[in-house]
């Protein structure tokens, strides 16, 4: 194992990345929250992006002297099957609901609100599963915040109206991108997601570690690598990526890696993978890597070995794979959709595309102009350092908490 790997990083471990002044500002903000108790609630301690973020964020807050805690709601399989359907419906997928399912959802929330210690000053609820805990809202000074980690711009209206009834009882809601939000009659804040530069997926790797991964998957180290990391899903347009690659390969020798997993809850996933394999059939320069869920280091190594990273999604959430690619200083070609637009400013931090032909042209431009590609990569890295690291996320959470005690736009702390 690489010695530079830090199992549970402390905030001071981030100083070489973000600088001393940024840490001083975090400390100053945290001091203003002194005496406030903050309780985070979600539905699981393990697995998923929310748990991953909270597992880092809560210890960071404690390290800054804030009394922050983290609890999860308890529920049986029936409850989580219902919330899974809620999740899909909020994403716009059509789901059938029985009336008693809504009742059961509320019942589990009610039970949890009785069992949980909800006496904190700020209750920070993550995602829809515990949204109805608000019914147990306590003393008047208490602040309730709802953090929506998913894109609810085109939800199933019936489900959204049901959830909205509870969301609007909160003091504020938080969204990850402006177009993920819905109009609400409470305050709404924008907090971008983030990546952790010291996690396995993003930390520095040695040349040997990278080469070992390339050897493991039989990747030619001498040929330029074009890489897309994403699950096998029509919305990630893997077939479009192969078409773009074929156009590039006519002029420039290179190889394509499509790396990702299949979603267990998506029956279409296997179909997409089969289709991709069929299109890529007999082309030795296309590597389709079906990676297990714990392949963070492999993904990190592939991204660091890539010459150009592509994200040709037809629809995208925030697009954290783009953030990861930018963090590694790689030139990125990505579709102008969703949260990608917040990360890539065309010709400044990467190249945006709108079609297969556009993607092919952008890749060719980057492969034939390594200096230009290097400059975009460097800009992308700095852009992520400034805007999309976990320390910025922490700062935004602290600011969010403080904003609940002020109505002004200019707050003197």
């Amino acid at each position: 194992m690489n010695k530079s790997f830090i199992l549970k990083p402390k905030l001071k471990d981030y100083e070489p990345i973000i600088g001393r002044s940024a840490l001083e500002e975090l400390k100053a903000l945290a001091d203003k929250l002194s005496g406030k108790r903050i309780l985070n609630i979600n539905s699981t301690y393990i697995g998923g992006g929310v748990a991953e973020i909270l597992a880092r964020m809560v210890p960071f807050m404690n390290e800054l002297g804030i009394d922050a805690r983290w609890s999860v709601i308890k529920g049986d399989n029936e409850f989580f099957n219902i919330t899974k359907k809620f999740h899909n419906a909020l994403h716009g997928k059509k789901e059938e609901f029985k009336d008693n399912e809504f009742e059961y959802f509320l019942e589990v929330n009610r039970r949890n609100s009785q069992e949980l210690d909800l006496l904190s000053d700020i209750i920070f609820i993550h995602d829809p599963q515990p949204v109805a805990l608000i019914q147990k809202r306590g003393h008047t000074g208490q602040k309730w915040l709802w953090r929506c980690h998913i894109d609810i711009s085109n939800p199933d209206e019936k489900i959204w109206n049901f959830i909205k009834n509870y969301v609007e009882k909160y003091d504020a809601a938080v969204f990850s991108a402006p177009n993920f939000a819905k109009m609400l009659n409470i305050r709404m804040f924008l907090i971008y997601p983030s990546i952790d530069p010291l996690s396995n997926k993003n930390r520095e790797l040695s040349r040997e570690q990278i080469n070992a991964v390339l050897d493991k998957y039989g990747i030619d180290k001498k040929k330029p690598i074009i890489l897309q990391v994403s699950r096998f899903d029509y919305l990630k347009d893997p077939v479009g990526v192969i078409k773009a690659f074929e156009m590039v390969r006519k002029n420039i020798p290179c190889q394509l890696i499509l790396a990702g997993g299949t979603a267990t809850d998506d029956p279409e996933s296997d179909k997409v993978l089969a289709e991709v394999k069929e299109v890529a059939w007999k082309n030795p320069d296309i590597h389709i890597l079906l990676l297990p869920p714990d392949s963070d280091i492999e993904i990190n190594a592939l991204q660091r070995a890539a010459t150009v990273i592509i994200q040709k999604s037809l629809k995208e959430g925030f697009g954290l794979t783009v953030t990861e690619a930018l963090w590694k200083g790689k030139p990125v070609v990505a579709s102008a959709v969703g949260g990608i637009l917040l990360q890539i400013k065309h010709k400044i931090t990467g190249l945006l595309c709108h079609s297969v032909e556009g993607a092919a042209y952008a890749i060719k431009t980057l492969l034939t102009n390594p200096e230009y590609a290097k400059r975009l990569g460097e800009n992308g890295h700095v852009h992520v350092r400034q805007n999309f690291l976990i320390t910025r996320h922490l700062k935004d959470y602290l600011l969010l908490f403080l904003c609940q005690y002020y109505k002004e736009e200019l707050i003197y702390l």
């Binding site: 002044s21 001083e24 500002e25 969204f175 177009n179 939000a181 637009l341 736009e409 200019l410 702390l413």
Partner: protein, 465 residues
């Protein structure tokens, strides 16, 4: 032919085998060693490692070939052949010459790498070091050459020793001045602007410090040049002028920004215009400054996000150009900026009947900037302290004192100019900083510009120029 081969086969066979074995084993050692060295250098994270690796990668292969050939010739059973002697001497000479060249190249490239990071006085020392290195390399090269070709070296060594002795004798003053210069600059014994008085009666304000001498300006405006060795050897009185104290100290504040969604979104020019007219000032401030804040370290960018959206999403390039050319620095209130943007949009809509709407999901979202202002622990009581803090204070603090203070707090100028003018009575400097248009630079660019302005001012004040 066959007879000759039969007679000499042993003399050909043995060196060939030695040559091949040498090459194979040397290449294997090279492979193993380079892997080990690379991993060690990787751990070091020293930037110079790339220079070493780049210069050694290819040349080592040629060295192996040369040394293999040399060993084969040396081991050859052919006795007392002049050809053999000549070839082996040529080979070993080529080896040593290339070895010296590579060492020289590596050392100079490392020096060049660091010379980009040092200040001008030390740069001179780097150049001197490079010249000395050339002399050493040539001398060593000649000595090796003489040794290989069995030329007598005594005369040359005597010549070198004599040359060195003469150089030291002739340059003894310069050498001692150089050493003293290093001590003065490195330990900051005296600084520009100090008033010094030597035991030998010379006195005046220090105007220049070089590696060999120091210049002072006397009361009669005479420039006196003093060798550095005299400054370090004689008794010296230094009257350092205390910096002017401010009436009120300058406390650096910082400001952190939360983004609040208004829920308003425009999909075409008309909606954009209507919302621009009605949203709070904090929204206009956000969309005219967010680009600077998010991309400040990369490039000075279009002055506002309205222009960016109109051009990139709606495709009205001419209108986008007009909007992005609005000079924010011209305006002293957000209301004025809002009016200017609205006027441009209105004129365009009236004359072009533009009604293009963007695709769903690409709307312009109006966001409010909530600024949390906090004091830092950094306080400047005079110009030197101010300069010192300015060099490391966060970009958020700079953003607050330069951009936010002027537009959101309704001050006529930035906080720095205000303090310099009112508390330090440094009106000229205040105006010079006010003249820096912060919208034409990145935040770090503004920082550099203010630092160089203050430094130049301090220098001119110190030297009375």
């Amino acid at each position: 032919m066959f007879e000759w081969f039969e007679k000499n086969w042993f003399s050909i066979f043995v060196p060939s085998i030695v040559f091949i074995s040498f090459i194979v084993s040397a290449l294997w050692i090279r492979f193993k060693l380079s892997k080990y060295v690379k991993s060690k250098l990787d751990q070091l994270k020293w930037p110079g490692k790339d220079i070493i690796l780049k210069n050694l990668t290819v040349v080592v292969f040629y060295w192996i070939l040369i040394l293999g050939a040399y060993t084969a010739v040396e081991i050859s059973p052919v006795k007392d052949s002049l050809y053999r002697l000549f070839i082996s001497r040529v080979l070993i000479t080529v080896f040593f010459v290339s070895l010296l060249c590579v060492i020289y190249k590596i050392v100079t490239e490392i020096l060049n790498f660091y010379s980009d990071k040092v200040k001008p006085p030390i740069l001179k020392a780097f150049q001197t070091l490079k010249t000395a290195l050339i002399i050493v390399v040539i001398t060593v090269g000649i000595l090796i050459f003489f040794e290989i070709w069995k030329f007598p070296t005594t005369t040359f060594i005597l010549f070198v020793i004599l040359g060195c002795t003469t150089a030291i004798f002739v340059l003894r003053e310069n050498i001692s001045n150089l050493i003293a210069g290093f001590e003065i600059i490195n330990s900051e014994i005296i600084k520009k602007g100090d008033y010094i008085k030597l035991e030998t009666a010379e006195e005046g304000t220090v105007t220049k410090i070089t590696w060999t001498h120091t210049e002072i300006k006397s009361f009669e405006n005479k420039v006196i040049i003093i060798p550095n060795s005299r400054i370090t050897k004689t008794k010296l009185e230094i009257f350092r002028r205390p910096p002017k104290k401010a009436k009120e100290p300058f406390r650096f504040y910082t400001r952190l920004n939360a983004k609040e969604l208004t829920g308003l979104k425009a999909k075409n020019l008309k909606e954009l215009l209507n919302y621009i007219k009605e949203v709070p000032d904090s929204v206009i401030f956000y969309h005219t400054h967010d680009f600077i804040e998010e991309y400040h370290y990369l490039t000075p960018q279009p002055s506002n996000e309205f222009a960016f959206w109109v051009g990139n999403t709606l495709g009205y390039e001419a209108l986008s150009e007009k909007l992005s050319s609005i000079d924010i620095y011209e305006f002293s209130t957000i209301g004025e900026i809002r009016k200017r943007i609205a006027d441009i949009l209105e004129a365009y809509i009236n004359s072009n009947q533009a009604d293009k709407s963007c695709d769903e999901g690409q709307e312009f979202h109006f966001i409010k900037s909530i600024s949390a202002v906090m004091s830092t622990s950094y306080v400047a009581h005079d110009l030197r302290e101010f300069l010192h803090i300015l060099k490391f204070i966060s970009s958020n603090s700079l953003f607050f004192h330069i951009y936010e203070a002027r537009l959101r707090l309704g001050k006529l100028t930035n906080d720095f100019s205000l303090w310099l003018s009112e508390s330090l009575d440094e009106k000229m400097l205040a105006e010079a900083i006010m003249d820096i248009d912060p919208y034409l630079h990145t935040i770090e660019g503004v920082r550099r510009k203010i630092i160089s302005t203050v430094e130049a001012y301090l220098e001119s004040e110190a030297t009375g120029e």
